[in-house]
């Protein structure tokens, strides 16, 4: 689907229940993509700071959210393993 078409359909407010449920699934999808991208970035050797910059949040925020959620086999320097 072309991007403008996606935007029109996702922003369609004529059926709010369908729209709200779609947004809820979309949120889950976005969170899942974000987690996978953070893991990929750490595997590629990016630092928490670089990941935070790319996401537009603080380093503390991204570390707090993902430090314990990522694949524990990823070797992250100074990651809290408790």
């Amino acid at each position: 689907m072309e991007q403008p078409e996606v935007a029109v359909a996702a922003g369609d407010t004529s059926d709010p229940l369908t729209g709200l449920r779609a947004v809820s699934s979309l949120r889950v999808l976005v969170e899942s993509y974000e987690l996978r991208q953070v893991e990929a970035a750490l595997r590629a050797g990016m630092s928490w700071q670089e990941i935070a910059d790319a996401l537009g949040v603080t380093r503390q925020a991204v570390h707090k959210k993902y430090a314990r959620r990522i694949d524990p086999t990823i070797a992250v320097p100074r990651r809290n393993r408790t």
Binding site: A10, D12, R21, A22, R69, D71, P72
Partner: protein
Amino acid sequence: MSRLTDAVVLSQQIVVTATEEAYRVGHAELELDDLLVALTAVGGPAGDVLRSLGVTVDRARSAVAQVHADRLARAGVPAPPAQPRTLPRTGGGLPWSPRADRVLTAGQWDLRLVDDRRILRDLVREPSGFVAEVLAVLGLDAEGVLTALDAWVPTATAPSGALFSPDPRPWRTVTRRGWVPAAPAEVWSLVTDPARRTAWDPWYSAVEERADGVLAATLVGEAEGAKPVPPGFERQEVVPVAREEGRLVEWELRRPDRPGGAPVQRLAVALTPSGGGTRVDLTVRWLGVGGWRAVVGLLLRPVARLAWGQMLLAKHAGIARALR
């Protein structure tokens, strides 16, 4: 085990399984869909009811994925299905989403609700309607599921034989029961294959079968992110002492670097076909030691029994994880 212990063990298994499911599909939080899949994967009454309605682990997973895909498609967002992630050796915790938290914690202190049907009822009635949508994809309606939950009667499967081999010595014994969504033959080939031991037994980082049939095992330690193992405990010999083909296997655990200095320990796995899967009874037993250690052992016995119970649950979770 008492009904209350059963209930505590079952809720622990549900949370562990749901957390692993959330990890597998890449959720950042434990969600309602993870709880629904977990109910089909643990051997509780809710899973019995769902299986009697044709809902297996795989069908529940694909119905959940279908609901998300349909919702997104209706909103015009194409979402290619993501590949499941490989579970790590040791699971960490995940936060619970607010709605999963409500379902898990509502009524948890009501001791009349000692089985997981409460969780499924709350999932079905949950106001976002997500689980009702999943049930619709599975060709079920919410009322039908609630009626089946009310009509459920216990059909406990007794173990098909002894849980460990006969031995007259004064063993101290701890048993934990579990259920896995796989046929007994599959469970048997997993637990008796030395090459797959590390896939389910969280104790060992490496296991090799020697020519005499004894398994030479290395305990997990710092290299695997676990606690350091004290000197003399790293190596363990896992000696088969009993085997009833397809039903019972038992090993004695020895520490070759501490001859005579460690209590005798055994681990038994007994399998019984049950409800389209397998009832797995895990038993650890040990012989007490003499001298001052007997006194300490007596004082610490409740703590030791709790610790052994937790160890068995971790092994059971490993078996279930390897077969899901």
